[in-house]
Amino acid sequence: MRKHHAIAAVAAVGIAAAGLTACSADGSDDGTVTVNWWTWDERAAAAYAECVPGFEDANPGVKVEISHYAVDDYFTKLTAGFVAGTAPDAFQNSVPLLGAYAEQGQIMPLDELIDESGYDLSVFDVGVESWQYTDGQQYGIPLDWAGAAIYFNQDMVADAGLTPEDITTMTWNPDDGGTFDDVVARLTVDASGVRGDEPGFDPENVETYGINSIASGDFNGQTTWNPFVSTLGWRLGGEDAAWPTEIPYDDPEFAQTLDYLRGLADRGLTPGFGEFTVSSAEMIGSGSVAMVQGGTWDSSSITQIPDVPVGIAPTVEGPEGRMMISNSNANNVFVGTQHVDETWDWVTWMGTVECQTTAGAGAVFLPSIAEALQSTVETQAAEGLDLSTFIQALEGGELYPAPPTANGQEIVDTITPLFEAYFSGERDEEVFAEMTTLTQDILAP
């Protein structure tokens, strides 16, 4: 009897092992090559899926498989894929991770492929420089770019006696805040209906804030302080357009700008740091703010709120005109890909005016090719959405590319708590010098 049990046990183990082997076996091989491509944005996945039929028609025998994973898991999954050799052939990547992936030889330098195929990078109007590693080689082919914009509740603007032009032409300076300061104060209303620029305004009991909180822990302040301080000539990489050795948070103009922005909350014109936790669309939709400075990626959702007409304005015009940082996501190719040529074909197909125009039509992202962006703007204009400020930003030189940095994630993790400490009032101006010292240690150890 015992013997029978033992045999059964051995048999069970054997069956389990056989099952495992079966799982890891590959499917049938009918000669087609599948190119796997990953993104973290499900809307981008759907948009780029529209480029696939054209690509597959033009490249018989090649299939494209698009997958998307939530951004919180995306990079962990990617890393696991690098280790196991199962990473996708090509994938969307974010600038701060270029350094880590290129340094460890996980993504392919593309110069040779570019030369061989005669692919012309000049088709892009933004983002190419952000994807050059310290070895001078190109590691990424730009996909989309993102910056900041100001969204305003048109009804509230009218109620305040302002016009949309007052919003789209706001000026700003760190001394008196320019017309931006006047507009924000005008749009702020306290619980008894007194506006922020009227006597008797109660900053402790605000019903509607002029604008959302211009404070965050974000190390590049993309949608918060960056569009302000950049108009003074300040740049994230200082003198360096790429691979900076420090981030000049200790610049006196930087401190002055941040002090002005933090002061807005003390004056009751914006919510305090950490007070609002909801998305910008929810803030403006609920009427708790009259304007939102948010990402360009918000444009297609924030303008769809029922019964709340939302207009789009560019960021503020400062002493040196408008300027903001732009993040350019790009396609990277995994070194472990078995199908370099097919993958390269797909990557360059995505980087064409045609694909960018098709995929970008829904404005879920802003194409890095001005011609395709123009087409996005026209498509959206036909549906009543005016995105022309984004064309103006791209073509008018109102954005500078985010510099790639070494140890990007360490910068983020180190700087975020310090910004949070500054905006919550735990720390003051002296924190900026400390931040710069820390970035020196991390960027140029």
């Binding site: 015992r2 013997k3 049990h5 033992a6 046990a9 051995v10 183990v13 962990t76 890393t79 690098f82 280790v83 880590a100 460890q104 030889g105 996980q106 822990g217 740091f273 950490g274 007070e275 609002f276 936790t277 909801v278 708790s288 140890n407 994630q409 360490e410 983020v412 993790d413 975020t416 708590p417 310090l418 949070e420 400490a421 919550s424 735990e426 720390r427």
Partner: protein, 319 residues
């Protein structure tokens, strides 16, 4: 089966008798023939799991803590460099401080609430439904519980702040201010784990013979006096176990923080596990993260050892 009686089979010689020859019962007794390999097969699933998922990762973690390891390239041995870095890392020390702060609040609250709940369950209700309800929060996935609580504690939309404001208070930034972040996380943790601890203590209460209480009552002791003079001392081994488990669990706090505050604001709730996670999976600095994990391991061993000794956890008054 027959395995349990096998030990009694050979005749035991008298203790004072002459030295018996070395015996090999497994070889001699027909009842034992072939048992060894069957035992190994039966143990194998648990054993393999233990070796693969516990022993090997632990040993590898120990090894990695002496290396520079960024996952994508092989580890390189750097000796004690990680530990040197750790001692100089102010974020590590502040994380440790935050963790201890959390442990103190969470464990003391859990113990007080659990003991009170268990005593109430034991002395007042016989209803299994009510007893079962107590453990409900423990059955909910931590991520779900933390997400729901983060909504309820939200400054703008949270029901808790609606209540606070109804009583004339100002909106409290439960999860976004330094003062409240750790107490709020500890509160969620206590809410989640109190039931489980209470049930263990409740089981312990049931092992106390009722005669003890009868005797107490005859001697004229009231409920509270019996609780402090009889219940608590007799529960000591169970309380020690529960305390040790709770301290270990609280030191390993990660999921609630990850869902509600991500360690913020300004590192105010950056517990050690959160810091280890962001070093490892955010910055790919697995060597340094392993070194910190090893330190946490050492801290837990020392604390557990001290607790066991101080509480004399392996002795009981009822024996």
């Amino acid at each position: 089966m027959s395995l349990s009686t096998a030990g009694a089979a050979p005749k035991r010689p008298p203790a004072t008798g002459p030295k018996r020859p070395p015996r090999r019962p497994a070889a001699n007794s027909p009842a034992h023939r072939g048992d060894g390999w069957l035992a190994w097969i039966l143990i194998a699933p648990a054993m393999i799991g233990f070796l693969v998922f516990a022993v090997y990762p632990t040993l590898r973690g120990v090894y990695l803590s002496f290396t520079e390891f960024r996952v994508l390239t092989p580890p390189t041995w750097i000796g004690l460099e990680n530990f040197r870095e750790m001692f100089a890392d102010s974020v590590f020390w502040s994380s440790l401080g935050v963790t201890v702060y959390f442990v103190v609040i969470a464990v003391s609250l859990t113990m007080i609430v659990s003991i009170a709940t268990a005593a109430v369950l034991h002395r007042i209700t016989e209803s299994t439904v009510i007893r079962g309800l107590i453990i409900l929060p423990f059955l909910i996935s931590t991520v779900v519980a933390a997400t729901v609580w983060s909504w309820m504690l939200d400054t703008q939309l949270g029901i808790v702040n609606v209540v606070v404001q109804a009583f004339g208070g100002d909106g409290v930034q439960f999860l976004t201010s330094r003062e409240w972040a750790i107490p709020s996380v500890a509160f969620i943790h206590v809410w989640k784990n109190m039931g489980y601890t209470a049930i263990i203590i409740f089981a312990g209460l049931q092992t106390i013979p009722p005669q003890v209480y009868e005797a107490g009552r005859i001697d004229g002791a009231g409920e509270s006096k019996m609780f402090f003079r009889l219940t608590l001392p007799l529960l000591r081994p169970i309380l020690a176990l529960v305390l040790v488990l709770n301290v270990i669990g609280a030191f390993q706090m990660f999921d609630i923080v990850s869902v509600t505050t991500k360690g913020g604001p300004a590192n105010a709730s950056n517990v050690l596990q959160m810091y280890i996670y962001s070093k490892a999976f955010g910055q790919f600095d697995f060597g340094y993260a392993s070194a910190m994990s090893l330190s946490l391991f050492a801290i837990l061993i020392i604390i557990t050892f001290l607790q066991m000794r101080l509480l004399r956890a392996n002795e009981s008054e009822t024996d």
